[in-house]
């Protein structure tokens, strides 16, 4: 079976116009809202992280299923592969942060005379921060490139060695990711509130990433199917993606609650300092995030029919994606802009610009390679996927 996705003019225009609207809104917002440097950089960081999460999850999705010997996902492998193509751009955008360090990270200021931050200086210092950033991206981009290249080679050659090599690469990726996903979230998010610390933080970020990634893959499947592609993706595949979205939304809540409960219960000032501004200055948003990211998908996807209905599932995926953007917003904002933060033209403009760019990269890379992998020994299982 051959299938190749062609990027239609209409789609291309659509994507570019999203980016265009973004730029327009940014210009408009710049003059109307006259944001300060801090707000601009905070927005850059939020969207950097958000789209990095989705792109990086492409690699996680591939690697996890590969090492678990899953067969069902094989037919939709190219979608997460396309997501990982955004990683190099993420890297470039992340390095831009260099110019906004002082606006985002309080610890990067010189001469703070803060004994706690001085104690952390061995880890939290600007050169090491960027060395680590470089290392993370090197690992992620390198390993996802190899994973993708491996399946492309496999398309041409039915040798089983690609399957075995894929497993090794996937294991390597998972090991690298397991460490880097935690350290990344300490570096880029936790250190915004430089005094605060939570051991759970990295895992909490990871599960948020999981949910965003699954929601994005669901939407891409829905889009491609609406264009007449992916006929071999049946209700069972959709059902499984729905189960993922359902289960990991619950899991996300579990981790959120674990962290909150323990800090709330122990009531140690060093730790509650994190939740205090969130609960006073951003109270509505704080609880909205929980409703959108947990309560809504939990109730909306509880029944079997809901998980198998692609239209409804896509709707839930969109809502959850908005919810997780707000979650990232809530992670970054209180420590950078603080009380005065508001979601306005600038915020929406940034999202639109990033979204346009992201979709452009993903769709062009989807169009570059055949939409269906070949020669994977487990591919046949994916076609005969039943309960």
């Amino acid at each position: 079976m051959e299938e190749k996705y062609t990027l239609k003019r209409k789609t291309q225009y659509g994507i570019l116009s999203i980016a265009g609207v973004g730029i327009l809104l940014l210009i408009l917002g710049y003059f109307i809202e006259s944001p300060n440097r801090q707000e601009l950089w905070a927005n850059v960081l939020i969207n950097n992280l958000y789209f990095l999460f989705i792109a990086l999850f492409g690699g996680v999705f591939l690697a996890l299923h590969k090492i678990a010997y899953a067969g069902w996902y094989t037919a939709l492998k190219r979608i997460p592969e396309a997501l990982t193509k955004f990683l190099p751009i993420s890297a470039a955008l992340m390095f831009l942060i260099y110019f906004g360090m002082h606006d985002l990270y309080h610890w990067s200021h010189e001469g703070l005379h803060d004994p706690i931050l001085e104690g952390k200086a061995a880890y939290l210092n600007v050169p090491f921060f960027f060395v680590r950033m470089a290392l993370y991206f090197l690992g992620w981009i390198g390993l996802t490139y190899l994973l993708r290249k491996n399946t492309l080679d496999q398309d041409l050659n039915p040798d089983l060695k690609y399957h075995n090599r894929g497993k090794i690469l996937a294991a390597l990726f998972m090991v690298f990711f397991a460490i880097s996903s935690s350290t990344m979230s300490w570096d880029w998010i936790m250190s915004i509130d430089a005094h605060w610390f939570s051991t759970l933080f990295g895992w909490f970020i990871f599960i948020g990433m999981f949910v965003c990634g699954i929601a994005t893959i669901i939407l891409l499947i829905a889009f491609l199917k609406s264009q007449g592609y992916l006929e071999y993706i049946n209700k069972e595949h959709i059902h499984d993606m729905g189960k993922y979205l359902f289960a990991f939304s619950i899991f996300w809540m579990y981790l959120w609650f674990s962290q909150y409960l323990l800090i709330w219960y122990s009531h140690i000032p060093e730790e509650t300092a994190y939740f205090a501004p969130r609960l006073t200055d951003h109270k509505i948003l704080f609880f909205t995030v929980l409703v959108i990211n947990f309560l809504f998908p939990f109730l909306a996807l509880m029944t079997r029919d809901a998980k198998r209905n692609l239209k409804w599932l896509s709707f839930v995926a969109i809502v959850v994606l908005i919810g997780h953007w707000l979650n990232v917003y809530m992670l970054v904002i209180p420590g950078t802009i603080g009380k005065t933060a508001q979601i306005g033209l600038i915020e929406i403009g940034f999202i639109a610009l990033y979204l346009g760019g992201f979709l452009y990269v993903v769709f062009t890379s989807l169009a570059k390679t055949p939409l269906l992998v070949k020669n994977d020994p487990l591919l046949e299982e994916s076609f005969h996927y039943e309960t």
Binding site: S182, T199, L200, Y254, Y265, P377, E381, H384
Partner: protein, 459 residues
């Protein structure tokens, strides 16, 4: 259902449906061998020792334990957490692996779930004994009483009561619902009238009707869906016993998920320890194949690595926090008077499972068996390290102290080991160790016969 030819068969030896029934029912029908009698003698003696020590503790009081004012929790709670942890593999296998459509679970879920129940029974004993007056144990339940008081719903210890009793009950329901069809099988095979009557009673009148099967499948799936978050919740709640406090080394937010990973890790180790022997003694090598062992080893390495990352995260964040007490707590763990416990834990839990990256070792039974014992020991020490080293040097240096267990505590621990293995030995004589119906349902797709029709008996 199509299964790729590169997948290893899950049932080997070209089985037919009849052969599966015959072979799995054999241990129930035959007479136990010498090994079984030797085993049960040993475990019952251990159990009797434990009972004697428990009796002594209750008669004399908790003063017979090595606890003191600084270290109020010692072996008792260590064992409690250890046993609850071991009780996590069973429901993980039958619930989470069912949801993830892992067919290899069908050969191991029954015995693993039985282990869950026995382990939770052992775990529950410790808080009960530690109360000092176990006859007043019912005080933990919120019932209208003459003291006009409610139990403290703010206390993690009370959450434990609910978590563990719910876990035990739901696991029991899940296990028994799964057992009903297999008990039906045993009932229909029994020759003696009395045994037939007993199994008939236990089988709840199972007939194998299509409508029953439909409901049975539906309930299994939904119970799995409920049991999956339940597994996560139980050890999370156990971890809050420590983590809601303000003790450095106890209060850390990673505890709930990290305890769960550790629990599954230790649970799988215990499942491996027992099944490697069981498959040999009961001649079930065709059902619990080396492939099954390898799959379990993969879960061991995954959960073991998660636990390792959690250890390192704790260590790093303790330094990063800049909190003097946090930093000292972890320094003291690694280099203080209990350094040996810490390094036993590190070696057994983090370093040794890394050997499983080698496929050869994953498929080596002797190695796996030894490693599984290592992990059991390592995970016991993990709880010991968390509990005792965090407590023994608290905020007030004048009350720093050391703890060592008395013979009474050791005896009670040995007693619970006795209880656990006695229950398991009885279980394998009474109920099928492998889910007969479930194995049959994967035979066509995952057996090793060339032709699908070879599953029926030849005439």
């Amino acid at each position: 259902m199509y299964v790729s030819p590169i997948r290893e068969p899950l049932v080997t030896g070209k089985k037919t449906y009849k052969k599966i029934t015959d072979e799995i029912s054999a241990p129930i029908e035959g007479k136990p061998g010498k090994a079984w009698y030797a085993g049960i003698t040993l475990t019952v003696s251990a159990l009797l020792l434990g009972l004697a020590m428990m009796g002594y503790t209750i008669w004399e009081g908790i003063g017979t334990w090595g606890l003191n004012k600084t270290i109020g929790w010692g072996w008792g709670i260590t064992n409690f957490v250890w046993w609850v942890g071991i009780g996590h593999a069973g429901t993980f296998i039958s619930a989470i692996l069912l949801l993830f459509r892992q067919k290899w679970r069908t050969s191991i879920n029954r015995s693993a779930e039985a282990m869950t129940l026995f382990a939770v029974m052992c775990a529950g004993l410790f808080p009960l004994i530690h109360m000092g007056r176990p006859l007043l144990g019912f005080f933990v339940f919120p019932y209208p009483n003459t003291r006009e008081l409610w139990v403290n719903f703010n206390s993690p210890l009370l959450w434990d009561v609910f978590a563990i009793s719910t876990y035990f009950t739901v696991s029991l329901l899940f296990w028994y619902v799964g057992l009903i069809p297999d008990i039906g099988t045993i009932r229909d095979r029994m020759k003696s009238k009395f045994k037939k009557w007993i199994y008939g009673l236990l089988s709840f009148g199972w007939t194998g009707s299509a409508k029953h099967w439909q409901r049975h499948e539906s309930i299994s799936l939904i119970l799995a869906g409920l049991a999956a978050p339940l597994v996560l919740s139980v050890h999370s709640i156990v971890s809050t016993d420590f983590a809601t406090s303000v003790i450095p080394g106890w209060h850390t937010t990673i505890f709930p998920p990290y305890f769960v990973a550790g629990a599954i890790f230790s649970g799988f180790a215990m499942v491996l320890t027992l099944l490697i022997i069981t498959r040999k003694v009961l001649h079930l090598e065709n059902y619990i194949t080396v492939g099954h062992i390898e799959s379990m080893n993969k879960i061991i390495i995954a959960t073991g690595s998660i636990v390792g990352i959690a250890y390192i995260t704790e260590l790093f964040i303790a330094w990063y926090s800049g909190v003097e007490y946090e930093q000292y707590a972890f320094l003291n763990r690694a280099t203080g008077p209990y350094w040996w416990a810490y390094w036993i834990m590190m070696t057994c839990n983090v370093i040794s499972p890394q050997l499983l990256w080698f496929k050869k070792l994953r498929r080596n039974l002797v190695f796996t068996f030894i490693l599984s014992i290592f992990i059991n020991i390592g995970m016991w020490f993990e709880r010991f390290v968390i509990i005792v080293t965090s407590l023994h040097r608290d905020y007030l240096p004048s009350s720093w102290s050391m703890y060592e267990p008395t013979m009474v505590e050791v005896g009670i621990f040995i007693g619970t080991l006795g209880l656990f293995f006695t229950c398991f030995l009885l279980f394998i004589r009474v109920f099928p160790v492998i889910a007969i119906a479930e194995v049959k349902s994967v035979l066509k797709s995952s057996g090793d016969q060339k032709d699908k029709s070879e599953t029926k008996e030849k005439h």
